[in-house]
Symmetry: C2
Amino acid sequence: MSISTSEAAIAALSALAQEHRLAAFRLLVEAGPEGLPAGTVADRLGMPPSSLSFHLAHLERAGLVAKTRLGRTLIYSARFATARGLADYLLENCCGGRSCADAAVPERLAKGA
Amino acid sequence: MSISTSEAAIAALSALAQEHRLAAFRLLVEAGPEGLPAGTVADRLGMPPSSLSFHLAHLERAGLVAKTRLGRTLIYSARFATARGLADYLLENCCGGRSCADAAVPERLAKGA
DNA sequence: TCTATATTTCCAGAATTATCGAACCATATG
DNA sequence: CATATGGTTCGATAATTCTGGAAATATAGA
């Protein structure tokens, strides 16, 4: 998941553009590759399981998390590569390779000078 | 705009998590520091001015674009620093400093092994 | 098999976001 | 001042997303 199309970028962006999902994802990042059971995430975030499930599914569709069954618990883990892929996408497509040293003060356009 | 809080990150993420806004922002990035008049962006994106205005305002609130008046035209330009700030936020908070070499296959948790 | 646990899916209602025409504001120019 | 141009704001409607309880699914264990 290296995020090549803008659709993929939008999927990842909107997956993270939500309070609860960003919090869940950060929790999983912190948990590392071992991941965390859905229930644990729900507890730590203090939200009802059905709501959390909705958000985790959203993250999974965007390729940001992976799901593994272990007995009767489902373990979610962060897909670091996708997060990095999104960061790379931003750097390439939204910083245009330029230095990114904020210089957004256009003072002369449509005027020759 | 270095994006320190998660609120700021969510604002930037959701600003870019929309087809038209991402397209508009990319256009402004491509245009460089000189920026582009709102009307030009509307033309290139083929959308009614009021719709575009709505989206540009959204990008501006998130700190992703700057607005400058030049006569009767309003020129929008990308704030590269914010885009980079978002990329940095992702790298720091969503990749956890680790190598990011996808390793999301938790096979032993809750079991000693 | 019956029961308990972990979680998801379903569904309906609430909340938020997007769309776009019409009216409005600001600036330029005759 | 009158008029034209570039854009925004308003407002009503449509579309999408979020929320959370109830019912359903999957697995484990007695």
